[in-house]
């Protein structure tokens, strides 16, 4: 197992390098311009100077190497300094990856926004799982019952209706008509007592529900399918024949075995938490990573887009490995040699 993990980790390095090169090259080749969104009143020669000052005068390979150095050496060093309050070498002179739009270090922007994404999108993932597992179990156990039919219908709706639609529908119902929840996430709110905690809960309700519906829809289908596979297995008949209670058969024997593929699906989905739910964050104005990415894309803030997408790539590679390892741990039949 350890051997296997190490081998996979070693293999991840060239994979990530190739990914980083592809991301960098793609964004560089894309016909986009950081001065494109400036008012037309700024004359072209000034635009040219702006491009030069952003470092676009350097040839592509040089910029790529700079970026590699900044991402893999300078930024980690900075993080270490920040965490332990120490100084390593000449930190004032160290070049950092800077966003073109805000002119501030990209990593600081990401750190500032990470908590909101983890709270809102992470919470919706947890809520989604909590809804999906019982719904999936009951749907499978009572296949074709009215509960299963309704569950199937709701998950089809949740899965096929895009979040930009459900989000706006919920805003119109709960913010405009009923006025129960705010439609805009107040990112300056600090939880200091019960009333601000309540305000925080209220403003999280709509975005979390929108995403939870989507996540639950997907996962509950997985749980249901996997339960159905197992319910027909011989060991279930054996368990029942031994006179075990139905609850034990279902929740201990069947559920445990059914959750193996579900756990992998959940693990593989975790990187999407970090990439934020781009659209949902934009609709509710949650200042998370997804919103950061979309603003960067719109503004042609290429260093920010490159760094964010690459971080997502790292997370995907990492959680793929975790999912594989979890599979091995949970299912004794699978062995990595």
């Amino acid at each position: 197992m350890l051997n296997y993990t190490l081998r996979r980790l070693m293999f991840a390095i060239p994979t990530l390098l190739v990914i980083s090169f592809i991301i960098f090259a793609l964004l560089d080749l894309a016909p986009n311009d950081p001065t494109g969104n400036l008012p037309l009143t700024i004359p072209p020669d000034v635009r040219e100077q702006i491009r030069q000052s952003l470092g676009l005068g350097e040839p592509f390979p040089i910029r790529y190497l700079y970026w590699l150095q900044q991402f893999f050496i300078n930024e980690p060093l900075n993080l270490l300094e920040r965490m332990f309050g120490i100084e390593i070498g000449n930190s004032a002179e160290r070049l950092r990856i800077r966003s073109w739009a805000t002119r501030s270090p990209v990593v600081d922007l990401i750190i500032e926004r990470m908590p909101q994404t983890l709270w809102v999108v992470g919470m919706s993932y947890v809520v989604g799982i909590l809804i999906a597992i019982p719904v999936g179990i009951i749907s499978a156990y009572r296949q074709y019952s009215w509960f299963d039919q309704i569950g199937t219908f709701v998950s089809m709706v949740g899965f096929s209706v895009p979040t930009f639609f459900t989000g706006v529908v919920l805003i119109v119902i709960f913010s405009v008509n009923l006025q129960w929840f705010p439609s805009i996430y107040d990112t300056t709110l600090e939880v200091t007592g019960w009333s601000s905690f309540w305000a925080q809960v209220r403003q999280m309700v709509l975005p979390v529900m929108v995403l939870a519906l989507y996540n639950a829809a997907q996962l509950s289908r997985f749980v249901r399918a996997s339960m159905l596979d197992n319910l027909n297995q011989d060991y279930v008949r054996t368990a029942r024949a031994k006179g075990m209670k139905e609850r034990v058969v279902l929740l201990i024997h069947v559920l445990r075995n059914s959750l193996i593929p579900v756990v992998t699906v959940i693990a593989l989905g975790i990187p999407t938490i970090f990439s934020g739910a781009i659209i949902t964050e934009q609709i509710f104005r949650v200042n998370g990573l997804g919103q950061l990415l979309i603003i960067a894309v719109q503004g042609a803030d290429i260093p920010l887009v490159q760094t964010l997408t690459f971080i997502f790539a790292v997370l995907i590679v990492f959680f793929n490995l975790i999912a594989d390892l979890l599979y091995g741990i949970l299912d004794p039949r699978i062995r990595y040699e």
């Binding site: 494109g36 037309l40 700024i42 739009a101 300056t188 934009q282």
Partner: protein, 568 residues
């Protein structure tokens, strides 16, 4: 009213507002919630010329003089606007002297002096700084600090309109003490300064979150002790225009929302809720179709869309250009895409009053019959497929614009209108960042103009059209020789026009400048090199509980945020 001197106008406004809120007190109205759906990235207009960043900064840092909603200059950090009459502008028009109001303080309590003004100019003009407002500092030879209260700007050439630097929200004064180490290549590295500049404006920054939200509080050193009446200001960003409108007009979560370019019927429906009010103002923005007078056909190779390619096969015919213009029903375009924020126009220079020509209005009347007659007369006869042709040249054109739902709707309508006079139109839209990006390597920029007609909006900052009108000089034609730079997209070239541009550069008298500008407008619009469509306004909305909003297209919309109050 417009004839008031700027000073008198400013005083009158101050008095009027003072009377309305006799007992107003600084900070008595709580929090003001403002939504800019394009989030503010940085509070330094020298590093980011985007409108959202300029306007966000304008509540903190201020220029020496601002523009009011009618486009008149009003003093901000000075007592009066320098002119030739009051001796502030030299007789030879080569220098301007600003006298700063005594006793002004920065938000950190230190005095505001002429040194700060000089420093700001040095900051922007420093090499390698990538200053985005450098064009406002063009032709400045030197800046002299006469004493703490007086600063003189010397120009290399006579400047009939010397109010470029330090007038309007694009060029505010920044504090020398704070930005001293941020000059040139260091400018972007000063994150702390760029996110939290000290200012003279009504508010100061408490917390800045890039691309998200800024919290401000009242500046206790603001020059008017009774203002601002709001204790705090939250400037939130993100989302889109439609949901921004909803948050003011329907849910009432916000007090002010900026730039609500959404379908008119959507806005109307939202304002029916009665929580907010839509406000519009008209600046100089004109949505126009520019006509390519050179041949854009691909077989011209490198010379495509340049003077070398020769005249356009059919758009060089004035009858065709005129027919295309009167075949467009501008009223319908306004109704479909702009509502209260648009007016049909035939002029490329529709404002300010002093410069706006009213002579050209032949295109306002939608007249497809006349268009057909013109084409018939010019020998363009309908072919078997209904498309007109002459000598084997079909009236079939490629019509490009940037990607934007209103523009695509306009394109579809225009295509249909042109179909009715026997002109075939192929539509194309290009992502705005590419279209306006100006990358010389891309074939899709509006400068390269590899199409027959293209549509977009342009305007100019401030109120003086000289530089803008000079864009249509023969020299301004984009071509490979000048790296495709230049604003003369139609490739229009006329000696008469060039002479007028030269004349304007030597004229100081405002009335005479107005006359020249009008002549230039008439030439461009009558020639049909440009087909003006819609005079576009800015649309915002404010809550019915907010008083004092004076919607402004000439300066930041938040230019008078110090005067805003909350109704009881």
């Amino acid at each position: 009213m417009k004839r008031f001197t700027a000073l008198a106008a400013g005083t009158a406004v101050a008095l009027a507002l003072g009377a309305a809120n006799a007992q107003a007190e600084r900070g008595s109205d709580g929090n003001l919630n403002v939504l800019y759906w394009q989030a503010v990235s940085v509070l330094n207009p020298y590093l980011s010329g985007g409108t959202k960043d300029v306007e966000g900064s304008s509540v903190v840092i201020e220029p020496l003089a601002k523009y009011d909603e009618a486009g008149n200059m009003v003093p901000a950090l000075v007592d009066e606007i320098p002119t030739v009459e009051n001796g502030g502008v030299s007789e030879d028009l080569k220098s301007i002297t600003w006298k700063i109001t005594p006793g002004l303080l920065w938000s950190d309590g230190t005095p505001f002096t002429a040194n700060d003004v000089k420093f700001t100019a040095d900051y922007c003009m420093a090499p390698d700084g990538g200053c985005q407002q450098i064009s406002k500092f063009q032709d400045i030879e030197s800046i002299e600090v006469i004493d703490d209260q007086t600063v003189t700007i010397n120009f290399t050439v006579p400047k009939p309109f010397p109010y470029t630097a330090f007038v309007g929200a694009e060029t505010p004064v920044i504090q020398k003490a704070q930005f001293e180490n941020c000059i040139g290549a260091n400018a972007p590295n000063c994150t702390e300064q760029n996110f939290g500049p000290h200012g003279t404006g009504p508010f100061k920054v408490v917390e800045f979150r890039a691309n998200d939200v800024i919290t401000f509080e009242a500046n206790e050193h603001y020059r008017d002790p009774a203002k601002p009446s709001f204790a705090t200001l939250t400037l939130k960003g993100g989302g889109d225009a439609a949901s921004a409108a909803r948050s003011v007009l329907e849910t009432g979560e916000f007090d002010y929302a900026w730039n609500l370019q959404v379908e008119p019927e959507v806005l109307e429906q939202m304002s029916a809720a009665g929580r907010g009010q839509v406000v519009t103002s008209f600046g100089t923005s004109v949505e126009r179709i520019e006509v390519n007078l050179t041949d854009p056909s691909p077989d011209k190779g490198e010379n495509r869309s340049t003077l070398e390619a020769g005249p356009h096969p059919f758009l060089s015919d004035p009858a065709v250009r005129k027919a295309l213009s009167i075949a467009i029903d501008r009223e319908i375009l306004v109704e479909a895409g702009y509502g209260a924020s648009g007016q049909p126009t035939c002029n490329i220079l529709p404002a300010p009053e002093n410069y706006a020509s009213t002579n050209v209005n032949w295109c306002l009347e939608y007249n497809p019959d006349e268009a057909n007659r013109l084409l018939d007369e010019a020998g363009w006869a309908p072919g078997g497929d209904g498309i007109r042709a002459k000598d084997g040249v079909r009236l079939s054109l490629l019509y490009q614009t940037s990607t934007n739902s209103v523009r695509q709707a306009t394109q579809a309508l225009v295509k249909d209108m042109w179909q009715q006079i026997g002109v075939e139109t192929e539509l194309r839209n290009i992502d705005a960042a590419v279209f306006f990006g100006g990358d010389p390597a891309s074939p899709d920029t509006f400068q390269k103009f590899y199409a027959d007609v293209e549509m977009y909006t342009n305007n100019f900052p401030g109120t003086d059209p000289e530089a803008y009108m000079a864009g249509w000089l023969c020299d301004g034609i984009p071509s490979p020789k000048n790296g495709w730079l230049g604003a003369n997209m139609p490739r229009f070239c006329s000696e008469e026009y060039d002479a007028l541009v030269g004349q304007m550069a030597e004229t100081a008298d405002l009335a005479a400048r107005g006359e020249i500008a009008k002549k230039m407008n008439d030439i461009l619009s009558n020639e049909g090199a440009l087909i003006p469509l819609i005079h576009r306004g800015d649309v915002s909305a404010h809550s019915v509980t907010i008083d004092g909003v004076r919607m402004n297209s000439w300066d930041s919309e938040l230019w008078n945020v110090a005067d805003w109050t909350r109704k009881e």
